[in-house]
Amino acid sequence: MAGPARLTREDVAHVADLARLHLSEGELDLFTGQLASVLDHAADVASLDLAGVEPTAHAMAVTNVLRLDEPAPCLDRGEVLGQAPSVEDHRFRVPRILGEAP
C-alpha cells in the first residue's frame, strides 16, 4: 500500500504560513525533518490491514454529552476588556483586517 507523498519543505512553509508562523531557513529544514518522521510514524498505522475495524472518533467511547439550556454568569466586562491591549467603545480594538471574514 503506497503511503502519502513524502513531506516537502514547501509543505512545511505552507503550513507555517497558515499558522502565521515566520520560520527561518534553518528552522524550515529542521522542522521538515522532524515533521516527516512524525508522519512516517503515522504511516506505519496506514500499512496495517484495518478492514473491519471501526474508526475511532474519540479516545473515550462516550456520546451525547449535553448540558441544559440554562444561563450561567458571564464575566465582568471591565475585567474582560482590561485584559485587551486596546479597547474602544466597549469593544476589542484590533488592527485593520485585510479581506472579509472567511
Partner: protein
C-alpha cells in the same frame, strides 16, 4: 432572464437558533445587548475553557432536520481553523464530514421541490465593525469586535443547486423562513441577522448542459436583495461569457446601494481551513426514540397551515387567487390561528381572512399577542352589522394600542353606534334622489352602480354605515 440562458442557483442559509444560551457555554443568547457583556472564558477562547453542547440547540437542529424531511444521523464536530478576529479561538466549531441532518427537501408553495443537501450545526462568530471613513473593510483604519454573538448556535442549511430562477430562490427563502419560525427554531428576523443567506449562482446555455463556474454571493440581508443580486450576477456572468471571457470562481459581495456584486477573493487564495475533529467534544448520536420525541413536539408546518385555511374557504366556494395570497401572508406572519379561531366562533371565513391579512397583518407582533377572543368578538360585531368595516378597523387599531380589551367597549368609547335601519334607509334615499340617472342605470341592471351609491352613503355617514346593509337597502328599493 436573457433568452438562451438558464440560471443554476443553490442557497446556503445560516439560521440562529432561538435558545436561551450559546452553543457551548451558558452565556445568554440575546440580540442587541451592550457589547461584550455576554461573554465567558469559553466564548472568549481563554486557555483551559471547555465546550459543552447545549441540548436545546441540538433538539432545535433536529427539529429543523425533521421539518426539512432530512435523515438525522450520528454526527461529529470539527475545528475550522482560520485567523480572523471574529473568532477569539482562531477556529470555529462546525460539523464537517458528518453533519446532523442530510438528504432532505423543501417543497415550494407551487409544488417545486428543492433538495436539501445538509443542515449542520455550528457556532456563530463575533461581530466586527470597521472604523474609518467607509465603514467597510477596505479603507478601514482598524476594527472593533463584540463577542456577544460569538458561540451563538447556528444551523447552516445547504440546498442542492436545484433552483433555476430568482423567483424560486425568493420563494425558497420565504418558505424556509416560515418553516424555521413554525418549528420554533428561529425568529426568522433577517433584519437582525438571525437568518443570513449566501447564494451560489452559475449560468449555462441549456437545461441539460453541465453546470457553469459558480460564484458565491454574500451579504444578502433581505429576500429582495437576494432576488436582485441573483439577477445581477447571472447577467454579469452571461456578459462575460458572451464577450469570450471566462467566469472566475470567486466570492462576491452584494452592494445593495450600488445594485451590483463585487469580487472579494478568487479561488486561488481560497482558505485552507485544516479541519480536524474537535478533541473536546464527543460524537452526537441521536437514537430513534429521541428523534421521534423531537418530531412529536413539532407544530404544524406552513404548507399544512395554508391547506387548513384553504379548507376553511371551501364552504364559500373555494379560495380565489387573491385569497391564496392573503393565506400566504397570514401564515408567513403566524396569524393563521386567529383566522381559524374566528371561523370556529362563527365568523365567515372570507371576512376573517381579509381582516387578518389586510388589517391584523399591519402589526403582526401586536396581532400575535392579541387574545383570540377579543379578535373574534370584534369580527362578530362587524359580521353582525353592528360595526362598519371602517369602524372595525379603527377598533382593531385601538386593541393593538391597548394590547387587548373589549371591542364593544372600545367601539362605544369611540362613539361608534350602528346606524338604525330608519336612518340608514333615509340616507340611502337621499343618495338615490340626488342621482336619478345613476339610479335609472342601476335599476336597468347595471349592478356596478351599487358601489357608487354605497360610496355616497359611506361619505355621508363618514364610514359609519354598514356596507352590507346599504347593499340590502339598495336591492330592496330596486325591488
Amino acid at each position: 432572464m436573457t433568452s438562451g440562458w438558464q440560471m443554476v442557483i443553490g442557497l446556503e442559509v445560516h439560521c440562529e437558533l432561538k435558545t436561551a444560551t450559546k452553543l457551548f457555554c451558558g452565556c445568554p443568547n440575546v440580540f442587541g445587548d451592550e457589547p461584550n457583556t455576554n461573554v465567558c472564558p469559553n466564548c472568549l477562547g481563554l486557555p483551559g475553557s471547555l465546550p459543552v453542547l447545549n441540548q436545546q440547540a441540538v433538539e432545535l437542529a433536529m427539529a429543523i432536520g425533521t421539518a426539512l424531511h432530512c435523515e438525522i444521523k450520528p454526527s461529529t464536530f470539527h475545528r475550522k481553523n482560520y485567523f480572523y478576529p471574529d473568532q477569539a479561538k482562531d477556529y470555529q466549531i462546525s460539523q464537517y464530514d458528518e453533519p446532523l441532518n442530510v438528504n432532505g427537501h423543501l417543497d415550494l408553495p407551487d409544488g417545486f421541490r428543492v433538495g436539501i443537501e445538509r443542515a449542520h450545526m455550528e457556532e456563530d462568530t463575533g461581530k466586527t465593525s470597521h472604523a474609518g471613513a467607509s465603514g467597510r473593510i477596505h479603507g478601514a483604519d482598524y476594527s472593533l469586535v463584540d463577542y456577544n454573538r460569538s458561540g451563538v448556535p447556528l444551523v447552516e442549511i445547504v440546498s442542492d443547486p436545484d433552483m433555476r430562477t430568482a423567483d424560486q430562490a425568493r420563494a425558497y427563502v420565504t418558505e424556509l423562513r416560515a418553516i424555521l419560525v413554525a418549528s420554533g427554531a428561529s425568529d426568522g428576523k433577517m433584519e437582525e441577522g438571525s437568518m443570513r443567506v449566501d447564494a451560489n449562482v452559475s449560468v449555462r446555455t441549456a437545461a441539460d448542459a453541465p453546470f457553469g463556474t459558480r460564484c458565491e454571493i454574500k451579504n444578502l440581508n433581505s429576500v429582495r436583495s437576494l432576488g436582485r443580486a441573483i439577477e445581477y450576477e447571472a447577467q454579469r456572468q452571461i456578459a462575460l461569457i458572451e464577450s469570450g471571457e471566462a467566469v472566475v470562481q470567486q466570492t462576491r459581495h452584494w452592494d445593495e446601494g450600488a445594485g451590483r456584486t463585487e469580487a472579494l477573493r478568487s479561488k486561488e487564495d481560497a482558505y485552507d481551513y485544516r479541519y480536524f475533529l474537535e478533541p473536546d467534544l464527543v460524537p452526537l448520536v441521536p437514537d430513534a426514540e429521541w428523534i421521534r420525541a423531537v418530531g412529536d413536539t413539532l407544530g404544524m408546518m406552513p404548507a399544512e397551515r395554508r391547506a387548513r385555511l384553504v379548507g376553511l374557504l371551501e364552504e364559500s366556494g373555494g379560495a380565489t387567487d387573491a385569497q391564496r395570497d392573503q393565506i400566504t401572508t397570514v401564515v408567513d406572519l403566524g396569524l393563521d390561528d386567529l383566522v381559524v379561531e374566528a371561523v370556529a366562533g362563527g365568523v365567515g371565513s372570507g371576512l376573517a381572512l381579509a381582516r387578518t391579512a389586510n388589517e391584523a397583518a399591519t402589526d403582526a407582533d401586536a396581532a400575535r399577542a392579541l387574545d383570540p377572543k377579543s379578535y373574534l368578538e370584534l369580527l362578530m360585531l362587524e359580521a353582525g352589522g353592528l360595526l362598519s368595516a371602517t369602524q372595525a378597523k379603527a377598533v382593531l387599531a385601538e386593541l393593538f394600542v391597548r394590547g387587548g380589551g373589549d371591542p364593544a367597549a372600545i367601539a362605544r368609547d369611540k362613539g361608534f353606534e350602528a346606524m338604525s335601519e330608519d336612518s340608514l334607509a333615509a340616507t340611502v334615499a337621499v343618495a338615490v334622489d340626488g342621482h336619478p340617472d345613476e339610479w335609472g342605470r342601476y335599476c336597468a341592471g347595471d349592478d356596478k352602480l351599487a358601489g357608487f351609491f354605497t360610496g355616497l352613503v359611506m361619505k355621508a355617514t363618514k364610514g359609519q354605515a354598514n356596507g352590507k346593509a346599504v347593499a340590502a337597502e339598495l336591492a330592496r328599493l330596486r325591488g
